[in-house]
């Protein structure tokens, strides 16, 4: 195998494929990127078995062939070459990476150890790439990173009346997003960790999505992201969503984020921020025994059956939810200090962020 291409074009396909390569892998060969050259195309594949990224680029092909090269070294070596043409080729069982002077010699990994991935027939529904990337950002914040409960590390994909519904929860909060007009068939639990990589690996203006029995596949003109589905059944979340909320307040999003930024100076995860919803808006208070506190008033429209209602949240959870809600205002609907609150943009929105309070 031997190819030649512009440094920046090569670096782009390598860096994106390398995002699937883990630092700690079960098999040594998974530290490598599979580079396949046929016709005029270089195809690069990185995988950690749960997530697989394939990218490709048109290059000058001097010799066809396949080789597995340690991913981090290959990627960094190409990136650090002088600008201009870079050549990658196999010579005497070593890989040579050469660019206008510098030359690396790298031992390849055993190609026969590289996992054989099933072929995919791209046959999905087309989704607006930006809308998908936004949706991914909005739901994955609520997914758990705790490997002890694998089901909660996934995002549920299911079809709804509106289109595609995505739901994630770590049991302290839940995010639900409807992507209208996306007629994706089937149901599956897609790993949030891999999904977060979507914009950075194959993000594009048009993405094709498909959901199989064992994996979800996203493809675009920039490559393909394959995510192995998580086994198990997602919690029955519908029953957790309250039907009615006696109290609600509508706040300016920027003002709320600024306030939470000030709160964060005093609070840590385990120090809750208290919101007192009352006529005229919300009183925000945080206090910490060994540090001090902060308090302020936020203008807002309050309506409720209670004269006032106080609720406390983990400030980081609250901030993360407010950040991803699109629009200029935030509606917070509250039952009481012990039941889930729901945040959204106040309209007939396609996104809700449900947050459990902190009992104080």
């Amino acid at each position: 195998m031997r190819i030649r291409a512009q440094r920046d074009d090569l670096a782009d396909v390598l860096v994106r494929a390398n995002r699937a390569v883990g630092t700690r892998t079960a098999l040594p060969v998974l530290q490598g990127l599979l580079c396949e050259v046929a016709g005029s195309i270089l195809r690069v594949t990185g995988t950690d078995l749960d997530m697989t990224v394939t990218t490709s680029a048109e290059v000058d092909v001097l010799e066809e062939g396949r080789v597995v090269i340690p991913g981090r070294l290959l990627t960094e070596a190409v990136r650090k070459m002088p600008a201009g043409q870079v050549t990658i080729g196999v010579k005497d069982n070593d890989v040579e990476i050469e660019g206008n002077g510098p030359r690396f010699t790298v031992r390849p990994l055993t190609i026969d150890d590289f996992p054989v991935l099933d072929d995919v027939v791209v046959d999905g529904v087309e989704v607006d790439g930006e809308a998908l990337a936004e949706a991914v950002g909005q739901v994955t914040i609520a997914a758990s990173s705790d490997g002890a409960r694998p089901i909660l590390t996934g995002v549920l994909f299911e079809s709804s009346e509106a289109g595609l519904r995505m739901v994630a929860t770590d049991s302290y909060r839940l995010a639900k997003k409807d992507l209208a007009g996306v007629g994706l068939e089937g149901t599956g639990l897609v790993p949030a960790r891999g999904l977060r990589e979507l914009p950075r690996t194959i993000g594009s203006s048009k993405v094709t999505a498909q959901l199989g029995d064992r994996e979800a596949v996203f493809s675009s003109d920039k490559g393909m992201l394959r995510l192995r589905l998580i086994d198990g059944s997602f919690p029955k979340y519908q029953s957790l969503l309250p039907d009615t909320y006696p109290n609600q307040v509508i706040l300016e999003k920027e003002a709320l984020l600024d306030a939470l930024g000030r709160v964060a100076l005093v609070a840590e995860d385990h120090i809750p921020v208290r919101l007192k919803l009352t006529d005229g808006g919300v009183e925000v208070t945080v206090s910490r025994q060994d540090v001090g506190g902060e308090t302020e008033h936020l203008e807002g429209e309050f309506s409720g059956t209670d004269e006032e209602v106080t609720i406390a949240f983990n400030p980081r959870y609250l901030q993360e939810g407010v950040t991803v809600i699109s629009g200029d205002s935030i509606r917070i609907r509250v039952i009481d200090g012990f039941k889930p609150s729901v945040l959204d943009d106040g309209g007939e929105g396609d996104y809700i962020y449900l947050l459990m309070p902190v009992r104080v």
């Binding site: 002890a148 302290y172 206090s287 025994q289 902190v358 009992r359």
Partner: protein, 394 residues
Amino acid sequence: MWTEPILHVDMDAFFVEVERLRDETLRDRPVAVGGVGRRGVIASASYEARAFGVRSAQPTAIARRLCRELVVVSPGHGRYGEMSEMVFAIFRSFTPYVEGLSLDEAFLDITGLRRHYESPIDVARDIRAKIATDLGLPASVGIAATKFVAKLASEVAKPDGYRHVPVDVQLQFLHALPVDALWGVGPATFAGLRKLGVITVGDLAEIPEPTVTSSLGPTVGRHLIDLANGIDPRPVQSDSEAKSLSVEETFSSDLRGQDRIEAALLGQSQRLSGRLRRSGFAAETISIKVRYDDFTTLTRSVTPGVAVDSPRDLFSVGKQLLGEVDLSRPVRLLGLGGASLVAASTPRQLRMDSNERLDRLADAVFGVRERFGEHAVDPARLIDMQTEDLESDR
């Protein structure tokens, strides 16, 4: 900001008072808890007995000579540990900053309550009232700017009172005390100080520092001079971090099968929850211990992200941990423990699967069990198991 946010709460004649809860006839009489044998020593004396000169650490024989009517109760009848856990639970319901010194005394930092109370005196009054109404025990409280002044103040407050030492009269209060009231002044140091003509704390504050340090050494000397001037920067060290609580049992016949093992875990969840609640704690880390019939022992632990104290949560976490070990082998011993304890009053992130009604039920069950005994209410699964045990015993 309060200038005197440190409390020292000291239970009055704790062992005696716990015995009095058990036996009403011990009230209003000189009573001591201690060894009744020939070499017995008094552990704790009631104030009626102290009036006769009975002191703790005194040989029982001497105490009896000083006070003819003295009733000596041998220790062990009373539920000292359990009552102490309940006293500390009350402390922690006021503040998470509790530093226990022994079963019956602790420092509390109540800075965090300044929004809720007019003054530290009101906090002290409430704590004393709660211990008296809930547990029927007397306690004395010292209120001061520093730990050691608070401890001296509670000594002065005894029995069944409180003493507030405002920071501006702190030195007057201190200087009038005998020097051996200071922490760290034992008989040897006391003798050294007497040679320097130091009788009261005030004397110590007046003599030049080199005189003290050359006689007692630089570290001790400097420290005592600081104390004599009311300087004690040591903060209240809440002792929850290091502590852990656990229950375990060795079974008379090995447990076989997942069902039996989980049922045993369920019982332990109830008991551990009871102990946690009694001491006012919730556990951030949960562990299990499994010993098989060949004595190989495994432990597994997890930190679920929220502190747990209810039987239901303990059981569900414990069950998850049991999933990590081989349950097809006979189990000789099973244990369930909680570590990284935090005050149950610290804010708790609620979960979507938390169930308020089940939590209230658990509270009610806990109340019933506290009052009528451990097996007054049991999960049906455990009752089955007890019946089976009875049958297999026959």
